[in-house]
């Protein structure tokens, strides 16, 4: 009997692979949102396993805020070349330069990603868009389906969601609509790290402890950069830090950490008293319903 028990990581892996294969079987033009963050790296790893020994039958889309960690961009370009993938980039900077978006007073670009994302989806006629969102991340995400229908404006209406029964995913949509697909829905942050450790997946170096110039703002350690930090009166110092999430540099904070290895990272997360978004994402601190509001607008 016990030889027929799947570990929780094997169960989550099988479930995610099933989702990738369903999308490959039922959609014309799927794309994986790839930021170079750990969740998107995990998605790509699962997609590679799902279709081996053939290549992944999807392209990648990076919504580029222009405020990137250089280590992450280098990682992105390396994996794209290594696996012979096609990468599309939707650029927030380009939208700002052409007057289609305006910089926010606080310099944060995360909320600005939605228009370039929707534009890329429309331009490339992507009908299924894989996102690395996990339901343990945030309250509004907890109500998200694995297959989440978006209207022609990319909007998410929690009251219009289709009931998701058994493992029967209904991806039918009208022309102009698309479906966001979340293969990592049932992974938790700890599952992600345990799976990365088990599969020996390489990550950008900023996920591990390193010395970095940082300054303090809104309870977080931010890294200086072209995006506009630090402001006057904000003093930088050198600290041993790592990143728990990787996003736009202007609103992604580092945490104090001496975790140099993946085992040390897992131990640190297991002992942490803060969620990854609570600890390191300024954009989620905006209001109690910040994520719900952004999702309704078409955010990831």
């Amino acid at each position: 009997m016990s030889s027929y028990a799947l570990s929780h990581l094997d169960a989550l892996e099988s479930e995610a692979v099933h989702v990738f294969r369903e999308v490959a079987g039922e959609f014309e033009r799927p794309v994986i949102l790839f930021s170079g963050g750990k969740d998107s790296i995990l998605m790509l790893h699962l997609a590679l396993k799902a279709f081996a020994p053939a290549t992944v039958p999807f392209s990648l889309l990076h919504v580029d805020t222009g405020h990137n960690f250089p280590e992450v961009l280098a990682y992105r370009d390396r994996v794209v070349a290594e696996h012979g993938l096609r990468l599309e980039v939707a650029s927030v900077q380009e939208f700002i330069d052409t007057g289609r978006l305006r910089e926010r007073p606080d310099g944060t670009r995360n909320p600005l990603q939605t228009p370039p994302l929707l534009d890329a989806i429309e331009r490339h006629r992507f009908d299924a868009v894989f996102g690395g969102g996990r339901r343990d991340e945030e309250k509004a995400r907890a109500k998200e389906r694995v297959f989440s229908l978006r209207d022609e404006f990319g909007g998410w209406d929690p009251r219009r969601q289709r009931p998701e029964l058994w493992q029967l995913y209904n991806g039918r949509h009208a022309p102009g609509e698309h479906v966001r697909v979340f293969p990592l829905s049932n992974f938790t942050e700890l599952d992600v790290w345990q799976y990365i450790a088990r599969e020996k997946i390489e990550l950008p170096s900023i996920y591990y402890a390193h010395e970095r110039e940082v300054f303090h703002r809104a309870g977080m350690w931010l890294a200086p950069g072209d995006w506009g930090g630090p402001r006057e009166g904000e003093r930088t110092e050198r600290r041993l830090v790592r990143y728990r999430t990787v996003g736009d540099m202007s609103c992604t904070g580092a945490v104090d950490s001496d975790a140099l290895t993946i085992e040390a990272v897992i131990a640190e997360i297991a002992a942490s008293r803060l969620t990854e978004r609570g600890a390191t994402r300024a954009d989620d601190k905006l209001s109690e319903a910040a994520m719900e509001d952004r999702k309704r607008e078409g955010y990831f």
Binding site: L6, H8, A50, A52, A140, N186, D191, T275, E288
Partner: protein, 436 residues
């Protein structure tokens, strides 16, 4: 790394039965709530003029819910103990949301039905138990909540447990685990209560940690719906042709003689690739890629099954269904039927009865099913389907009906004749019980 298993469970309760508090208590007392989440709950509680943090707020999600003080959709929660990881489908109890409980129960291995000790078994309780039975959730738990407001008395608990267990038995549920709790005070949720010495059973969490989740796949007929055909056509793999899918039930072994349905052609399994590792044997619910000894025409939507136990494809489907769309389902409707990886056209030939879950009474020939109705239907499909009875397989016995015009999910279907559901107020519990 230690191996932990996964348990998926669902909770259901009527409005004000304290379900959100129970869920909040499970998350909180299992230390799955982190400091920033607790701080947010404390802050929100203060804003509402409450002194103590209201644990129910942990599971409130959307602004619409906070404003109206209701739960409008299934929410998924995650927590873990050293023994197990848990995925909880938190389903609202309001009457028009039966479909949400059906959704939550469809993937659950265990369901917790909550009642208020002061009110006992009410109409909603019976509906929830019936949905769990209909969806064949393997384990049913009755949590009698608010025992603190009922004086922690054994008689109150025993009377409710007896009534519920008898009702569950009439649904064909062989066993119910009843637990007296106070979610608010924390009695018997994670830690044993000091107020109910007369109760010798497990706490809710102890039960969740120890209930068996592994069924024996060797006792099931193997089923492999083909999701996708992998053909690299590269210099390294010029002739590779693999059939990718997730084993829906049972065990597959290299050398097994198999039939591909609906074509009926036969071959043998020549290799099993388990996500990068070649294996001799694989079992449900593993995602694998099969290769066959013969070059057959196999594509998405086909079912591979051992020849000895392969199902007989049919175009006439009888089923018990739960209608989940606002638009009614009527006799003569043309729909799409999605079964495993296959979607075919179908016509609703008849709706012989609608079932009232409160008393399990039948209403013959209702003409239509509306949202949240449970009923019997018969369908004729355009192409043969390799369907099992839901009684035998929750995975290959389940299907959806979809509106071909706008893609709406209309109906959740469970294939099989009426006796396989609990329909005829099954006074005699089925011998096979829930053994699957």
């Amino acid at each position: 790394m230690t191996t932990t298993t996964l348990l998926r469970f669902a909770t259901a309760g009527s409005v004000d039965d304290g379900k959100s508090t129970l869920v909040g208590r499970l998350l909180h007392d299992s230390k799955s709530v982190l400091a920033d989440q607790l701080e947010a709950v404390a802050h929100a509680s203060r804003n509402r003029g409450q002194e103590a943090p209201d644990l129910a707020l942990l599971t409130d999600g959307l602004r619409a819910e906070r404003e109206q003080g209701i739960t409008i959709d299934v929410a998924y929660r995650y927590f873990a103990t050293p023994r197990r990881r848990f995925i909880l489908a938190d389903t609202p109890g309001h009457v028009q949301y039966t479909r949400n409980m059906v959704t939550g129960a469809s993937t659950a291995q265990l369901a917790i039905v909550l009642v208020d000790a002061r009110n006992g078994v009410v109409e909603q309780t019976r509906r929830h138990a019936a949905v769990a039975a209909l969806l064949r959730v393997p384990h049913l738990v009755l949590a009698v909540n608010k025992m603190d407001l009922a004086g922690y008395t054994e008689n109150t608990f025993a009377a409710i447990a007896d009534e519920f267990t008898a009702y569950a038995a009439s649904l064909g549920v062989p066993q119910v685990t009843a637990i007296p709790i106070s979610a608010l005070a924390g009695d018997n949720v994670v830690t044993p209560s000091s107020h109910m010495d007369w109760y010798g059973g497990p706490t809710v969490l102890e039960h969740l940690e120890t209930v068996p989740v592994v069924t024996d796949p060797t006792a099931e007929d193997a089923r492999f719906p083909v999701q996708y055909v992998i053909r690299p056509q590269t210099p390294a793999h010029p002739d590779y042709r693999g059939y990718a899918g997730q084993i829906a039930s049972g065990v597959l072994t290299v050398g097994d003689e198999v039939t591909v349905l609906p074509s009926g052609r036969t071959s043998t399994i020549s290799a099993i690739d388990a996500l990068g590792t070649g294996v001799d044997t694989a079992f449900a619910p593993q995602s694998v890629t099969l290769r066959l000894a013969d070059d057959l025409d196999v594509s998405r939507g086909d079912l591979i099954a051992p020849t000895a136990t392969a199902p007989v494809p049919t175009q006439d489907v009888q089923a018990t269904v739960c209608h989940v769309a606002d638009k009614p389902l009527r006799v003569g409707d043309r729909v799409l039927l999605k079964h495993t990886t296959r979607t075919v056209k179908a016509i609703v030939k008849d709706i012989p009865s609608r079932l009232t879950l409160d008393d399990l009474s039948h209403h013959p020939h209702p003409g239509e099913l509306t949202a949240n109705d449970i009923g019997r239907i018969t369908l004729r499909t355009a192409e043969p389907l390799a369907l099992d009875s839901y009684h035998h397989s929750r995975r290959t016995g389940a299907f959806l009906l979809i509106d071909p015009t706008d893609g709406t999910t209309l109906t959740a279907g469970m294939a099989g004749d009426a006796q396989a559901a609990f329909s005829v107020a099954a006074a005699v519990a089925d011998d096979e019980g829930w053994d699957f």
